[in-house]
């Protein structure tokens, strides 16, 4: 099946405005006759729900947390990009577009990315209007910083809590609409399926987590704003509750899942301390501006360090391998996230890892402290150093930090066209949950931008076009599809609750995570991926036989909640492996061992893989079918990234 991304014709800079004009409008008096379902209340969901309600639609919003304000967008630290050019340093919409598409290793659509850059400026206006307290200069105007190796200062920030402040802004807009009666908010409610009637999405099935009630909600359109699936790796920087269930259920109802193997690994996270570890904590990559990454030169030295026979501060300078500076003399410690991450893992795989577990490398500030003084280092990184000390009980002013890469973001997700519509009419997907505008790799400070762009400035236009087309007649909830989908959900809950085996759901999840990280993480090869596929299939079969799921449906039941989510991860994991197997090139954050330059760097294959891989579900345990959306580049010239 060929996929039509519906990118408007015409010059790049005019595509969005032309398109907006061509979109049908809904008569203001008719808007209240439409119901719109929004699942998820992160940046994308909250901004979409609020904006649509402001327009006059009746919105029903859902989140599994106890409050819409808890969505994991809240944890984003760094900032949000916008092509405001307030600093007069040569930024422009085109430059932001160019940087983003190049950063994504040319695996995103030109049209989408340009639109993202275009509306980025409106986002900042909107947030400031809501009272988001961005950092300011003494003159009272907004401050910017350069972020993630960008040549221009275009990142707006609110200390290290930009995500929190942006989300609270969107949450406040949502609250205003809840108060106005235009949004009905359902908290502690998890979406478990999409109702598709005659090929169109017309509702969802939810489970109330407090009392187990399975309910049907109808709507003229369903928007999935349910975030990424990084927790398939068990350990990630995601929140504990982050899951793929909504998107995966939609996928099983026919929505294509695009580029599932594209995950972003962040290099500067605090390493794992043991099997008890439940999540990983990210530290801003700004640390690499002054910190030097190194590992012991030999395996023997590393072993001594691990056993405590040698203290890190006693290790001689010539016994230290500053591997990033050695391999990438021009970029050094500031190589992009993917390169830094991959090289760190290589050190550990060679046996040169440090810390009690041996799964970490050093990030050393000794040189910076000697050069700038401890006070200057504290002023710049004090809060990060405190956080590190809090978690590890090690003083980074006195000894090097230990860092290790961690899964941070997933670029893959449900396939959507230019209108953010999946291939199921009426089913939309926004934010991290869609396969997004980031291509194969996401630049720093662009995730917040995309979530808010989708919710505030894209969906309010594109959804109207669809709604105007289908007309305001009420949804017929008598349609057997509603009852049938509800029954399917209930049957699955029953099946899960009947599991009384001998292994906890967390144990399965942890095992899946190990497989994914080992074989489908930063570096992959065909043999490993094939092995992983077999392992996942076996694990999944075992799960449905031997998992323990306790309790009843009619109560808060974390056992059941987790089981449903992990069951979906066990299916998604296999698709990620399939996607990684198919993509025989190295691109973005992914190093395919078979595809490298003579110097051992990632080698992209534009001739064969400049496409979006959109996978089509064909039934349980059936191979999924690959649909390709070829990426056309009319404005940018594809170049190989090099950081030597």
């Amino acid at each position: 099946m060929s996929l039509d991304a519906k990118i408007p014709k015409g010059p790049l800079a005019e595509k969005w405005s032309t398109h907006k004009f061509n979109l049908k409008l809904v008569n203001p008096a008719n808007k209240r006759k439409y119901d719109v379902i929004v699942v998820g209340t992160g940046l994308a969901g909250a901004s979409a729900a609020a904006s649509l309600a402001e327009l006059g639609y009746n919105v029903k919003a859902f989140c599994f947390q106890d409050s819409p304000r808890r969505a994991h967008s809240i944890a984003a630290q760094g900032g949000i990009n916008a092509a405001k050019n307030y600093q007069n340093d040569g930024d422009s919409v085109y430059r932001l577009f160019y940087d983003t598409i190049k950063g994504g290793d040319y695996r995103a659509r030109e049209g989408n990315v340009y639109r993202l850059a275009e509306v980025s400026v409106n986002i900042i206006d909107q947030c400031v209007g809501q009272g988001v307290p961005f950092a300011r200069e003494y003159g009272g105007l907004l401050d910017n910083r350069s972020f993630g190796g960008s040549q221009v200062s275009r990142t707006f920030y609110a200390r290290g809590q930009t995500g929190q402040q942006l989300l609270l802004g969107a949450y406040s807009a949502l609250n205003r609409q809840i108060n106005a009666g235009k949004v009905k908010m359902y908290t502690r409610t998890e979406m478990l399926d999409v109702v598709v009637v005659d090929g169109k999405a017309q509702g969802i099935i939810t489970r109330n987590l407090e009392n187990g009630k399975v309910e049907t909600h109808s709507g003229h359109a369903v928007l999935l704003c349910t975030g990424g699936y990084g927790n398939v790796f068990y350990l990630s920087t995601n929140a504990m509750g982050c899951n793929v269930t909504a998107a995966w259920r939609a996928h099983k109802r026919g929505a294509f899942f695009a580029n599932p193997c594209y995950t972003q690994i962040h290099p500067t996270c605090i390493p794992v301390t043991g099997d008890h570890q439940s999540k990983l904590t990210l530290m801003s990559e700004s640390l690499r501006n002054d910190g030097r990454v190194w590992a012991p030169k030999t395996v023997e030295l590393a072993q001594k360090l691990r056993k405590g026979e040698l203290k890190v501060t006693d290790l001689k300078e010539e016994d230290r391998d500053y591997f990033l500076e050695r391999k990438y003399p021009s970029f050094g410690n500031l190589v992009p996230r993917d390169v830094a991450s991959r090289n760190g893992k290589e050190m550990v795989d060679e046996g040169r890892g440090v810390g009690a577990t041996g799964v970490a490398v050093f990030l050393d500030f000794a040189e910076a402290i000697a050069r700038l003084g401890e006070d200057a280092v504290r002023a710049k990184y004090g809060n990060l150093f405190d956080m590190y000390y809090q978690i590890t009980d090690e003083n980074p002013y006195k000894q090097p930090m230990r860092i290790y890469p961690a899964v941070h973001y997933t670029m893959g997700g449900l396939w959507v066209d230019y209108n953010l519509s999946t291939n199921i009419p009426g089913l939309y997907c926004l934010g991290e949950a869609n396969f997004s505008d980031h291509g194969a790799n996401r630049l720093g400070a662009s995730a917040l931008m995309q979530g808010l762009a989708d919710g505030y400035f894209v969906i309010p236009y594109t959804l109207g076009d669809y709604l105007a087309t289908i007309g305001p007649k009420p949804i017929d909830t008598k349609n057997p599809a509603f009852e049938q989908t509800k029954k399917d959900v209930e049957a699955r809950i029953e099946k899960l609750l009947a599991l009384r085996g001998n292994k906890t759901v967390d144990e399965y999840h942890r095992e899946l995570g190990h497989i994914m990280w080992e074989y489908c993480g930063m570096a992959r090869n065909e043999d490993g991926l094939k092995k992983a596929k077999g392992l996942i299939q076996t694990l999944r079969a075992d799960f449905w036989k031997n998992a323990i799921v306790l309790g009843d449906n009619e109560e808060l039941n974390q056992s059941l909640e987790k089981a449903g989510r992990v069951a979906d991860f066990l299916e998604l994991g296999e698709l990620m492996v399939d996607d990684a197997l198919m993509r025989k090139e190295s691109c973005g954050g992914h190093f395919r061992v078979e595809s490298q330059t003579p110097e051992g760097e990632a080698l992209r294959d534009d001739e064969h893989f400049a496409f979006v891989a959109a996978w089509e579900y064909k039934g349980d345990n059936q191979p999924e079918v690959l649909n390709k959306e070829v990426l056309e580049f009319e404005n940018v010239h594809l170049t190989q990234r090099s950081y030597k």
């Binding site: 009272g140 105007l141 908290t187 301390t273 904590t281 590890t392 323990i548």
Partner: protein, 265 residues
């Protein structure tokens, strides 16, 4: 992972099936606990062993586990979010405790925060207070350029300090009166200090306070326990700012400032 420093602890945990049934303390042994674990990871370990024994795991709210989402709670040995300052429970590490220690874990206690199960309470009262007026009424798109309004840095920074509230409810849990004023005043202050919040400043404070009262929270006696236990160190000064705005609105403002229909009828 060397197990040499591992600890054995006794946990006294509040177990309550739901809001309708009475709860009680149940004692559990937590064995082989690594000092590197976070408090919630320690509970994960206990829960894993409970599940293996076929017993209902302890329910507690949590999500981001990095101290920002505000979902985790727990009143640990007499302190909301445990004995350390300026952190949430998920940031509390077991090295804070010692081998053989008994740890008592209770849910937040306040009438407007009914227990849902075990250690999880319903904090939707906070959402309702925010819905009553914790926003600037601007529609998407209808805003001026971001740099059109210059805001003195000190004001922006002070508003930011108020805005860092994560809505966890530790202030209510810590207050001897179960007062929510620190939480409410943080939002009132943030928007009341910024120019964007001025047009609705006096209306906002009235509707949010009215909703707060309706939820049944206690009163502020300026003891400062909330400020001391707040994981984000929100200042008590916010409460005074709120009071000032409230009395201005109620007693001195000339214009009619209707409360919004949502809260009080």
């Amino acid at each position: 992972m060397s197990g040499t420093n591992n600890m054995n602890l006794t946990l006294k945990v509040w177990r309550q099936k739901n809001a309708q049934t009475a709860g009680k303390f149940v004692t559990y042994k937590a064995e082989g606990i690594s000092p590197d674990m976070s408090f919630l990871e320690m509970l994960d370990v206990v829960n894993e062993s409970l599940v293996h024994k076929g017993e209902d795991p302890i329910y507690f709210d949590h999500d981001c586990r990095e101290g920002i989402c505000g979902m985790c709670s727990l009143y640990i040995n007499g302190h909301p979010h445990g004995p350390k300052r300026a952190i949430t429970t998920c940031q509390l590490h077991m090295r804070t405790f010692h081998d053989g220690q008994t740890i008592t874990i209770e849910p937040w206690r306040a009438a407007p925060f009914p227990v849902i199960k075990d250690l999880a309470v319903d904090r939707s009262a906070f959402d309702r207070i925010q819905q009553a007026g914790g926003y600037v009424s601007v529609n998407t798109g209808g805003v001026p350029d971001a740099n059109e309004i210059a805001i003195p840095k000190v004001i922006a920074d002070e508003a930011f300090n108020s805005a860092t509230c994560i809505g966890c409810g530790a202030c209510v849990a810590a207050c001897k009166n179960a007062s929510a004023m620190l939480f409410v005043s943080a939002k009132v202050s943030q928007l009341g200090m910024l120019p964007q919040g001025q047009p609705e400043r006096y209306r906002r404070v009235q509707s949010m306070v009215a909703q707060m009262d309706e939820e049944g929270f206690g009163n502020c006696t300026n003891t400062g326990a909330c400020e001391a236990e707040c994981p984000k160190e929100i200042s008590l000064t916010n409460i005074s700012r709120m009071n000032n705005d409230y009395f201005s609105a109620k007693l001195f403002r000339q214009e009619e400032l209707h409360e919004q229909s949502h809260g009080e009828g």
